[in-house]
């Protein structure tokens, strides 16, 4: 689910400017940190845990992380628009390094633990020694993710902004000829992508309770895998891909070895690309000669 949220960001950016936003995973990491900081700040301000507080945290996190997304685009990518293909990629890798080390310096290299904010859950069934539990936390995560995705889908399919985004995706030059401010649209794409990554970061923090400055890289690569698996450029595909990657990882860890679960994710990536280059829900591109 979390991968799905990040994957949507990848797919959006890839769809609109055709580049892998390497720093996206790190934006997610920044989001997780900002969520942590917001929680602590609110806690210090006397607002204890509760639905209202969580909503506030969510809003703060999204707002601040979106600012990061905007800045990254502005500093590292916009000057390179229309430049050759490798330049934005290198720039993105550089940005990823910058973000990682910036957070490391600003917040320290140690892992940050946070005790669960939403304890408890309901027990679904109990068998000899086993208890299949569904914690409130998991339910919350699923609910928030679905809610955010619903809002996002509405945004993309029903609003002028969404139309502008899709137009830029199809043909950026034509879109700009038709009076769409492409720079602004791309900026907003990054902002929305970062916002989704922020939600993902917060969910990650709530779910696992431990974050450090390095979580972005792996999450980023896996989310990209999810995006590719679902068919890059396809938003529902990204969510589906994220779900699949999460499930495969869980089952792999349960039945095979935990150490190699990342290998499993990467192998899926390779296999998908080799045998199903357009992903599950992607559009086939016919090679024009």
């Amino acid at each position: 689910m979390i991968y799905g949220l990040i994957a949507v960001g990848y797919t959006m950016v890839y769809g609109i400017i055709g580049m892998i936003n390497f720093a996206h995973g790190d934006v997610f990491m920044v989001g997780a940190f900002l969520a942590l900081i917001s929680i602590l700040a609110l806690g210090a301000g006397g607002i204890a845990a509760g639905p209202a507080a969580l909503l506030l945290v969510l809003l703060l996190t999204v707002a601040f992380t979106a600012l990061y997304g905007w800045t990254v685009e502005r500093l590292a990518y916009r000057p390179l628009r229309g430049s050759f293909r490798l330049a934005p990629l290198i720039s993105a890798i550089g940005m990823s390094i910058v973000l990682q080390n910036y957070v490391q310096i600003a917040q320290g290299a140690r892992v940050k633990p946070l005790e669960p904010l939403v304890p408890g859950g309901i027990t679904l069934l109990t068998e000899a020694g086993f208890a299949a539990q569904l914690s409130y936390m998991q339910m919350l995560i699923v609910a928030v993710t679905l809610g955010v995705l619903a809002v996002f889908t509405w945004l993309v399919t029903r609003t002028p902004l969404g139309r502008a985004m899709r137009a830029c995706e199809q043909d950026r030059r034509m879109a700009s000829l038709l009076g769409i401010d492409t720079d602004r649209t791309i900026s907003l794409t990054f902002v929305i992508g970062a916002g989704l990554a922020a939600v993902a970061g917060m969910m990650y923090l709530l779910r696992y309770g431990v974050i450090d400055f390095y979580i972005g890289f792996l999450a980023g690569v896996k989310a990209f895998t999810a995006a590719v698996l679902g068919g890059i450029g396809s938003l529902p595909g990204a969510v589906l891909g994220g779900l699949l990657i999460g499930l495969i990882e869980t089952f792999w860890s349960a039945y095979f070895s935990v150490q190699y679960k990342d290998v499993a994710a990467f192998s899926i990536l390779v296999l998908t690309l080799v045998f199903l280059p357009t992903g599950l829900l992607g559009r086939a591109e016919v090679e024009k000669v």
């Binding site: 602590l40 910058v98 600003a106 150490q259 690309l273 280059p277």
Partner: protein, 510 residues
């Protein structure tokens, strides 16, 4: 090329440049406040009963002020019609100043009672000054290269820079080579410099190896470190478990790496562009994770130690001298420097071998086919070029040189672990290639010297140097997206060879 540098959009009209610049700067500072406020201003620290927040508002204020000043300088400089040199200067000075200030800020606080001017702070002040000058110079050069008046057409503008660099380069190449050859003999060169030289040359070699894949064949490989790792581990395992000599294991390590390249290449080479990049990245990570977890073979996170050092035609470099050692044979005083010098020349020879093979291949059908592949794959197919094998040779050859470098790394360190083969290494090597200019041998060498050398000079700054490193990558890409040497020299000509502007050269799709 015509994109504005830095963060600005259209410059404010000349009507009220100062007011406009002030407004712009204010906005930038506001953004900075949003960025740095929570992240820098509130530091999470483990305290009693969980995490606590530590407040650091002065730092935030300082950062915002820096952004304000820097932005103001940029906008203000742009709004004036200076000769080409001045805006570059105006841009370079605040940037360098900001960088130096940033460093000053981030360093651990000085011991009480010392200031920057007292004995203890002296080194630091000097280092900061040096940083300021170097950074300023680099920004100036980069800015000047592109800040030429807009009347000049893009091609002639870059042409001028290229022209001077080319003229300079004709001297520079041999000069660098001579310097590299003579380095150990220079009187003021010590052990540290030699070690640094070895490190730089390793990256030069890696860069040249990757240049075959990315620069010539146009295949974006983000997992180059995998071949480096395969080479290093092959060498380490062969030499420790079988006891074979360096000169036998070195080619074997290269062959193993080339084999890994072919193995990876077969399934993925029909992928294009970014897909290929991400799969190679995945491959690099898979190799690393396998190395980390296959404890029985690779020792897992503990790595492999006690890797035999290379010998000079059977003569060892043992510190004690003794019969059969290098020092004994030549009647020299035993010294640990001998080995370092030997290693230095070894990697120099390996790097030059890479260069020689690349330069030769470029002038031959195979190399030309690589470049043609980068330009247009479909046309290659229509001309009867077997695209798959051509790509595979590039991949295998690049991998082989990576493997050689890996073997050298293993024998030099005598210890390897998966930690040395992270994605960051791939990124650094790729950055060297792209910064140097795709396909340009001399550019790659310069980029390696600047990046790795610069990286090492700021070793004391710990994590800060990574921050600066990443920032430098972004900045250089923004200022010179095509790298230092952006043009291409034809491999054959009827008349005089003329450089081809980078704008025409393809970048590859696969």
């Amino acid at each position: 090329m015509s994109a504005p540098a830095g963060v600005a959009e259209a410059p404010p009209r000349a009507a009220a440049p100062v007011a406009g610049a002030l407004r712009e700067a204010g906005l930038a500072a506001l953004v900075a406040l949003g960025l740095f406020g929570p992240m820098v201003g509130l530091r999470t620290e483990p305290g009693a009963g969980g995490l606590m927040l530590v407040q650091r508002w002065p730092t935030v204020a300082l950062l915002c002020a820096m952004v304000f000043v820097g932005r103001f300088g940029l906008v203000w400089a742009r709004s004036h019609r200076f000769p080409a040199f001045l805006p570059a200067l105006a841009r370079a000075v605040p940037l360098a100043l900001a960088l130096a200030l940033l460093f000053a800020l981030m360093l651990p606080p000085l011991p009480t009672g010392e200031t920057l001017l007292s004995a203890g702070g002296h080194d630091r002040a000097l280092a900061l000054l040096a940083l300021f000058v170097v950074a300023g110079g680099v920004f100036l050069a980069l800015g000047w290269g592109r800040a030429a008046p807009a009347v000049a057409v893009a091609s002639t503008r870059s042409g001028r820079w290229e022209g001077s660099l080319r003229r300079f380069g004709r001297v520079l190449g041999p000069l660098l080579l001579a310097l590299a050859l003579l380095l150990p003999a220079l009187p003021w060169v010590g052990r540290y410099t030699l070690d640094l030289g070895i490190l730089v040359l390793t990256y030069v070699m890696l860069g040249w190896g990757l240049n075959i894949v990315v620069g010539l064949a146009g295949l974006l490989d983000l997992g180059y470190v995998a071949f480096y790792a395969v080479g290093a581990y092959s060498y380490a395992l062969l030499s420790t478990s079988l006891g074979w000599s360096f000169w036998l294991c070195l080619p074997l390590a290269g062959i193993m790496a080339a084999f890994a390249g072919i193995l990876l290449g077969f399934p993925v080479l029909r992928l294009r562009g970014d897909y290929l990049a991400i799969v190679t990245l995945g491959f690099g990570e898979i190799i690393r994770i396998v190395l980390l977890n296959w404890v029985s073979l690779t020792g897992g996170p503990n790595g492999i130690g006690g890797i035999p050092r290379p010998s000079f035609f059977g003569l060892s470099f043992s510190a004690g001298g003794g019969p059969g050692s290098f020092a004994d044979f030549f009647g020299l005083e035993p010294s640990p420097t001998h080995r370092v010098v030997f290693l230095y020349y070894l990697i120099l020879a390996l790097a030059l071998l890479t260069n020689w093979v690349t330069i030769r291949l470029r002038r031959q059908p195979l190399g030309r086919a690589w470049e043609a592949l980068r330009e247009d794959e479909i046309a290659c197919r229509a001309l009867g070029i077997n695209v798959t094998t051509t790509k595979l040779t590039a991949f295998a050859l690049g991998a082989m040189f990576g493997g050689f470098a890996g073997a050298f790394f293993a024998t030099r360190q005598a210890f390897i672990s998966p930690e040395s083969f992270t994605f960051l290494e791939s990124a650094i090597v790729l950055a060297i290639v792209v910064l140097g200019g795709l396909g340009s041998q001399i550019g790659v060498a310069i980029a390696a010297v600047v990046m790795i050398g610069g990286f090492e000079v700021f070793r004391d700054l710990a994590e800060w140097r990574m921050l600066v490193f990443g920032g430098a990558m972004v900045l250089i890409m923004v200022l010179r997206p095509r790298g230092i040497v952006a043009s291409r020299t034809p491999t054959v000509a009827l008349g005089k060879r003329r450089a081809i502007s980078g704008e025409l050269v393809g970048e590859g799709h696969g």
